[in-house]
Subunit: 413 residues, 2 copies
């Protein structure tokens, strides 16, 4: 029921301030200004505080204070630039950096998570019970947690730990290009279940317990939606139209879908496809072969979604949306997984050797996803149903050669 | 009804001997040898006769006879190489070149057309009434004829002129890569309607009259299938399984579908998408933008098929098959339309100027298809339903700038 008082607006927080998080802050801050009827003007951005020097390449560099370091959050709030993670891009002045994660989310109805994978559980545990009970989240971190027992989407991990609804955003989104306002597209999955508008604010955090689900989406209606709290009616509704207004820019086109699992899986599984494309390109097999592997990969992504999230996954999420086909294209044109796999074949070295030499301590997502997915498929007895994913795993393990890919993925008739 | 006598086998003719036709002869000749129960061993290849010298780069070059020219068909039959159109690839000895098109097709039950677009009507008129009445054709020439009045598929043009059923083959198929046995995939559309097994051999060629059809596929059951003659039962059936055996190789994977219109449209419309991808890449907009344009392009291909061939076109032909998504990928990675469009933007010249300077008299397919499709869309009052195709046309015409693509294709909400 609507209450007395002024119509409220949505307050937005970006939880994360890396390359992608800062880019997201910029475009969301532009959008909240464009829609003052829906959103509060200030966009909070949680910054993991660091002391950073101003590099010589920056226009803010001063040789007299070259050795001085600054708090990253203070730099964002004074020079309006994330000098460490998104240099040379001026942020709108309504982005306010905040080093206190709980304070940054206080009273926010929209939480946009853009954290590295491994930080999500810890940050969510800090936030549990400190956020608005009717807040909604969107997870912009790509990837899924695949274990032997099941697959957990990042959005589900966030949603369960915070006891709120969490959607997902994924697409062919190289952050730096978007920060430079070069044309891009993305897919937002947002489909909250019916919620109880009478339920009290939940106490405790039972949702943060470890639960492994083969198909977490099934859990929402039965176990969780009754506990999720509806947005009070004094806020503008978070309809697809209004969610789109939060993300859509002239240079960043948004399509909204309902398939959270498909959008999330796309961002993870495409990295396995990019490894396969890199392998065949490294063999010098040309563009036909690369396109073939990409096509087969997209169909295995569909099959994986259908096998393990049958209730919610749509084929079109993979074959028609930015988070599917377009992200595969971008990842197989020049992404890191593609490049390292190609280099491994060309140099006759293992991809792990290439990773060590070329990535300066960073890890490839494709290799860990290929191992995790294979381990899960083994427990399901379904390795043979995903011949390309299985071939990539076996190439990484040295069990088969990349030259065998056509034979391994050939449909048996 | 089955007749007395030995079980017959299918005789195969390749109508065409260019780069793609000769490649097709090679792989089909390999397959007929692998399936002697289904196919006669000799594969006829119709060669448009030319007198050719042996180039210095060839292993067959002899400086003492350097000025001597040879009949192309005789060279194929002696040195087993198409020295002009597919140099340095040895053809199987069961490929027999024949300069007489009627003789090459005599008694053949399978005719594989791999001719340049513009030669198809003339060659079909030469063959009319000279072929087996129950022959079946597969058209491997990409493209469709789009006029103001309608769209005619190449396969329909062949089928109507010869009064036989004609399917289509299309995919991410750069011929030279396939000739080198580098891994590739293709899509074969083959779905003959029910045919009359009692009908006499048709006289005359009423089917070769000019008929413009918006949706030619509709015409088959009503007007033509009753005139099509069924394959006598002493031949092995031309089932999907047996058609696949004719084309599928360990290095050339075939998927068979029923959607002739979708397969044919894919091979034509992807060239418009490749121009769009070239334009945004020429602007330096990066991989997100290129992937976005490709994705939007694939969806306009789907929409075009659905709008004008609603009865027969499947979305998945474009989004899941080699003739759709994979051909778009290959064409947007390095195809000629992509490269010329990119170069036009980078050099600030018109694409027609680039075509003139770079293509040595050859023409881009993308530009003519973009014009033909636009002219057709105008007559249908549907330009605005295909904003990317329309944008490409307007860029070619100088009416809009490539920088306007995101705005032009932005979904209005």
């Amino acid at each position: 029921m609507a209450t007395l008082g002024a119509q409220k607006k949505h307050k937005v927080t970006i939880v994360g301030s890396g390359n992608w998080g800062t880019t997201m802050s910029k475009l969301v801050a532009e959008n909240v200004k464009a829609h003052p009827d829906l959103f509060e003007e200030i966009v909070q951005m949680w910054v993991y505080e660091e002391e950073v020097p101003i590099p010589q390449s920056s226009k803010h560099y001063n040789p007299e204070t070259a050795n001085k370091t600054h708090k990253l959050s203070e730099l964002v709030n004074t020079i309006h630039e994330n000098i460490k993670y998104l240099p040379n891009i001026t942020l709108p002045s309504n982005v306010v950096a905040n080093p206190d994660v709980v304070d940054s989310c206080k009273n926010s109805t929209i939480l946009i998570f853009v954290l590295p994978h491994q930080f999500i559980p810890r940050v969510c545990d800090q936030l549990a019970d400190k956020i608005m009970p009717w807040a909604r989240a969107i997870c912009c971190t790509k990837g899924v947690d695949v274990g032997e027992k099941g697959i957990r989407l990042m959005s589900e991990a966030i949603g369960m730990r915070l006891n709120i609804y969490c959607g997902a955003l994924s697409g062919a989104n190289i952050a730096t290009e978007i920060a430079q306002e070069k044309y891009s597209e993305t897919t937002v999955a947002y489909d909250p279940p019916p919620m109880d508008s009478r339920a009290p604010t939940p106490k405790g955090s039972p949702a943060s317990s470890q639960v492994d689900l083969i198909s977490p989406s099934k859990a929402i209606p039965s176990a969780r939606s009754a506990r999720l709290k509806a947005l009070p009616s004094e806020y503008p509704p978070l309809s697809h139209e209004n969610v789109r207004k939060l993300f859509h820019r002239p240079y960043f086109h948004v399509r909204i879908v309902s398939d959270v699992a498909g959008v999330s899986l796309g961002g993870a599984l495409k990295n396995i496809v990019a490894l396969a494309a890199g392998f065949v390109d490294g063999l010098g097999w040309g563009d036909n072969a690369k396109a073939a592997v990409m096509r087969v990969g997209i169909l295995e992504m569909v099959a994986f979604g259908k096998a393990f999230f049958a209730d919610s996954v749509h084929t079109s999420t993979f074959t028609e949306e930015s988070c599917g086909v377009a992200d595969v294209v971008t990842s197989c044109m020049g992404g890191r997984n593609f490049r390292c796999a190609k280099m491994a074949i060309e140099r006759g070295e293992s991809i792990f050797e290439i990773e060590r030499k070329e990535l300066n301590g960073q890890k490839l997502q494709g290799t860990s996803t290929a191992y995790e997915v294979n381990s899960f498929l083994k427990t399901q007895g379904m390795e043979k149903d995903f011949p390309l994913f299985t071939a990539v795993y076996n190439i990484l393990e040295g069990n088969v050669k990349p030259e065998q890919i056509p034979d391994l993925i050939e449909p048996k008739q």
